[in-house]
């Protein structure tokens, strides 16, 4: 096991990694921007190094400063968390060049899986269904032809995009002709890569994802799947495990996820995102080659510590669990506590948290880096914590989540808590009839 690691992240995921490291006796170094000087991760880590001003590109994305911080503190590995540099193969490669272990997959598999086009190809090669669609579109003519074959509506996507950003619904050939160049331009702007792909657009679907863990030599297990269909602007709000899909379909999707990850000899924690339509057809979308925000629901039903498994695999301990050792029990739900105003189109609310009091009691887990008096900096995302519950079955987990949400107090910024309480009471949510358009169709948002 590592003696010391550097955490190249902030907020709740930095805290999450520190927690596991402390339990394992691994020393931690966190890097931080001047905006996060008073944050809990900085206080709780064994060491901390300021790497830049508030702007992410000058601090949490500042590769020379971060690598230098790792070298001079004697860290053996770097955990990138999620976001920032978690899916940056160049960074992973530079770590390797400087004798540092990047706690994640190899730069090679990150590159292979990192683009939508690459992911589609790997899926096809490992016999995993993908949404009818194309590789990279050379030009508008190719796009028009492809759309005719697939059938409208179609989705134009930045090949290098992710997290729901950089995609555009096209319903007619006219729209395609008008929108193609602009979509290319946006892709270039946001992802430094103008390449577009096209996919069949499904009006309604569930977002179901498979959590896998691989040892890098072909041994891959899954730790169940998660349903993350409740989203706003393609950003997840509520996740749960397991999904409410029929068991045979669940097993098929889980097997597909493992198959694909095995195909690339995947190392570490990864998530394969699928969409599942009303008829039970499932399609691979993309693989996230990192720990995810919602990993906690998988931890709750499996009793496993996914961050610990990441550290074990990266430090050479391998993956000692077999698939049959993974026993999933009960049902877990996570609500992302965002400092946002749900009534004002989820406008982020920075500022001081005047009072915070989290829920407790049986089956409740809180992962949060905020405290009474904490000032949410305006520079980063609005996630201020995660409330996770576990119970014997889904109905009981919903009742527990509602109870826990009602106990939670966050005074100061508006949060998504009141919305979540309404969702827990929603009859469609209660019976698991949730597609990604849930907020629009079932909550009038």
């Amino acid at each position: 096991m590592f003696k010391k690691i550097l955490i190249a992240n902030r907020g709740e995921i930095a805290l999450r990694i520190i927690r596991t490291a402390r339990e394992l006796g691994v020393k931690t170094v966190v890097v931080y921007s001047t905006a996060d000087e008073k944050s809990l991760p900085v206080l709780l880590a064994d060491e901390s190094v300021c790497v830049g001003p508030p702007a992410s590109n000058a601090s949490y994305l500042n590769i020379p400063n971060i690598l230098q911080a790792a070298l001079m503190t004697g860290a053996e590995g770097i955990h990138p968390g999620y976001g920032f540099m978690a899916e940056n193969p160049d960074f992973a490669e530079m770590c390797r060049e400087h004798g540092l272990v990047f706690i994640g997959p190899t730069p090679e598999s990150m590159r292979a899986l990192g683009s939508k086009a690459g992911g589609r190809e790997i899926a096809a090669n490992s016999n995993v269904p993908v949404v009818p669609g194309t590789g990279i579109l050379p030009d508008l003519d190719a796009a028009v032809l492809a759309a005719k074959q697939i059938g409208y509506p179609v989705l134009l996507k930045a090949s290098a995009g992710g997290g729901g950003r950089g995609q555009k619904i096209i319903r007619t050939q006219d729209e395609l002709k008008k929108g193609f160049a602009q979509a290319q331009e946006e892709a270039r702007l946001y992802f430094s890569d103008p390449d577009l792909i096209m996919e069949k657009f499904l009006e309604e679907f569930r977002h179901v994802e498979v959590q896998v863990m691989g040892d890098g030599t072909g041994h891959v297990i899954h730790i169940g799947e998660r349903d993350c269909s409740i989203q706003r602007r393609n950003q997840k709000l509520i996740e749960e495990a397991p999904s409410t899909l029929p068991d045979s379909l669940r097993q098929e999707i889980l097997a597909a996820g493992v198959r694909l990850a095995q195909h690339v000899n995947y190392a570490g924690a990864g998530t394969l995102e699928f969409i599942v339509d009303r008829d039970g057809n499932y399609y691979f979308m993309e693989m996230n080659t990192r720990i995810q925000v919602e990993h906690c629901v998988s931890e709750m039903i499996s009793g496993l510590d996914l961050v610990r498994m990441q550290l074990e695999i990266a430090s050479g301990h391998g993956l000692n669990l077999k698939q049959e050792d993974v026993v999933l029990r009960g049902h877990a739900i996570e609500c992302r506590l965002n400092a946002e105003d749900p009534d004002k189109d989820f406008r982020p609310a920075a500022g001081r948290i005047d009072d915070v009091h989290f829920a407790g009691g049986p089956g409740v887990r809180v992962d949060s880096h905020v405290y009474t008096g904490y000032v949410i900096p305006p520079h980063y995302d609005s996630l201020i914590g995660k409330l996770i519950v576990h119970h014997d079955n889904r109905a009981e987990a919903i009742a527990r989540m509602k109870r826990a949400l009602e106990e939670t107090v966050i005074q100061g910024p508006k949060t998504t808590i009141p919305l979540y309480i309404k969702i827990m009471d929603n009859p469609f949510y209660k019976r698991g009839a949730v597609m990604t358009n849930f907020l629009k169709t079932r909550m009038d948002m």
Binding site: V29, E37, K38, L43, D46, E47, V51, L67, Q68, T73
Partner: protein, 169 residues
């Protein structure tokens, strides 16, 4: 005093942004505090535990709660303290801060004389020190001229972004 009077008083106190108020007359006494509550860290009875006291004292930014036991901090020489970026207010002069993370060198080579020492007068653009980062030697120059009042980092010490290296007046 009747409720209407009280309400008037409270309105007036609120308008004047009064925080604490105490009044005693022959017939009554009144004590109140209004507005946001002083947080734990500012309460007189508070600081129980190991506290990043200097951080709190020097900085008006929020102070996180102090864990009962802060993790044992490694005494490794390569561990800059978390509080480093906060410039000590003790000495006078404009701070020269580290623009990058790296190792501070006071001179161009182990046997060379330091670029500057306390009391030296420097001019804008003059090299003050070197910060080695990613195997590159970065020369740090004075942004403005003045007298070096203090050198806050020892030779070969690691520095983090924003850490004050010199005070120049």
């Amino acid at each position: 005093m009747n409720p209407d009077d009280l309400k008037q008083m409270l309105d007036a106190l609120k308008a004047a942004d009064v925080r604490e108020f105490s009044l005693q007359t022959g017939s009554f006494s009144l004590d109140l505090k209004r507005g946001p509550q002083a947080g734990g860290n500012a309460a007189p009875s508070a600081p129980a535990a190991p506290q990043p006291a200097f951080e709190a004292a020097f900085d008006s930014a929020p102070t996180p709660p102090a864990p009962v036991s802060a993790p044992a901090s490694e005494a490794a020489p390569a561990a800059p303290a978390a509080s480093a970026p906060a410039a000590p207010a003790a000495a006078s002069g404009a701070p020269v801060k580290a623009p990058i993370v790296g190792t501070f060198y006071a001179s161009s080579s182990p046997d060379a004389a330091p670029y500057v020492k306390v009391g030296d007068t420097v001019t804008a653009g003059q090299i003050l020190c070197i910060i080695e980062a990613m195997k590159l030697m970065n020369e740090i120059e004075a942004e403005m001229g003045g007298v070096v009042r203090e050198i806050l980092v020892k030779n070969a010490e690691p520095v983090e972004y924003g850490q004050t290296l010199f005070l120049i007046e």
